[in-house]
Symmetry: C2
Subunit: 154 residues, 2 copies
């Protein structure tokens, strides 16, 4: 029987798949407060022409304005290791735990998070990895843009 | 005669004043590439019910999708010391220089930015400080929410 982390990571994967089906970057996220999803999101770089709507940011935005106490009791699930923007946001709102689908495709700021006391769990989920590998094979430039690396306007 | 930094900080202050006039938190930002403003923004927590549109994030979003080379040659101006979310975003996009209006009201992640090689200039601008002090005196709870500290739903 799957545990809570598996169930919520699966919800993040469903968001990643939604993003892929929209032609976007397949990274999804959910924010969970006391066993309930309060925000779902996926990367919207392509769909909204956005520089800031990574999956995690989109989930937090969709959760709306929450009191600090809610963030401090929440867990953020994301299909891919969080970049410095998303990690900084986790620190701003003092989210105590992050569950990461995979960090083989991209290793974000996990060390920074841990150094500030955030619990970081890496699930090594094959589906998360496959989604990214399939996407990058088809769209290498777009992926590079999302990590701040691409040198040409996408 | 004012230097470039003064001119662009003034543009960020005008954004902060726009935010105040809309009933929002008076923090503004502009992103400047080779002497030209490519994105302007201000905090939209109140106006858009946003958890992620701090002034700096809003300026970056309004600049649209830019190639990595543009960010790497840009300067971000902000009326207030950038929090961990906005600092993480500066790191993601490798923005090499940040000009900060003031850091007396709130000291963000300046040390982290400097440790990663970002040039941090603090202008100690009185107008930036006054705008925040006037706002906080009138709206202490709202300000606490923006820094992830407030315990009640605003």
């Amino acid at each position: 029987m799957p545990g809570d982390d598996d169930v919520f990571l699966q919800a993040a994967i469903e968001e990643a798949e939604k993003g892929r089906d929209e032609g976007g970057i397949p990274i999804g996220s959910v924010i969970v407060h006391k066993g309930k999803i309060i925000g779902r999101g996926h990367n919207r770089r392509v769909q909204h022409g956005s520089a800031i709507h990574h999956g995690e940011m989109n989930a937090l935005e969709n959760a709306g304005r929450q009191p600090a106490s809610v963030y401090k009791e929440s867990v953020l699930y994301t299909t891919l290791s969080p970049c410095s923007m998303c990690s900084g946001t986790i620190l701003l709102y003092k989210i105590p735990k992050v569950v990461i689908g995979e960090n083989r495709t991209y290793l974000g700021e996990e060390s920074l998070l841990q150094s500030r006391g955030v619990e970081v769990v890496v699930a090594n989920n094959d589906r998360c990895y496959e989604l990214m590998q399939e996407f990058i094979a088809k769209n290498p430039t777009l992926w590079a843009e999302d990590t701040g690396e691409v040198e040409v306007k996408a």
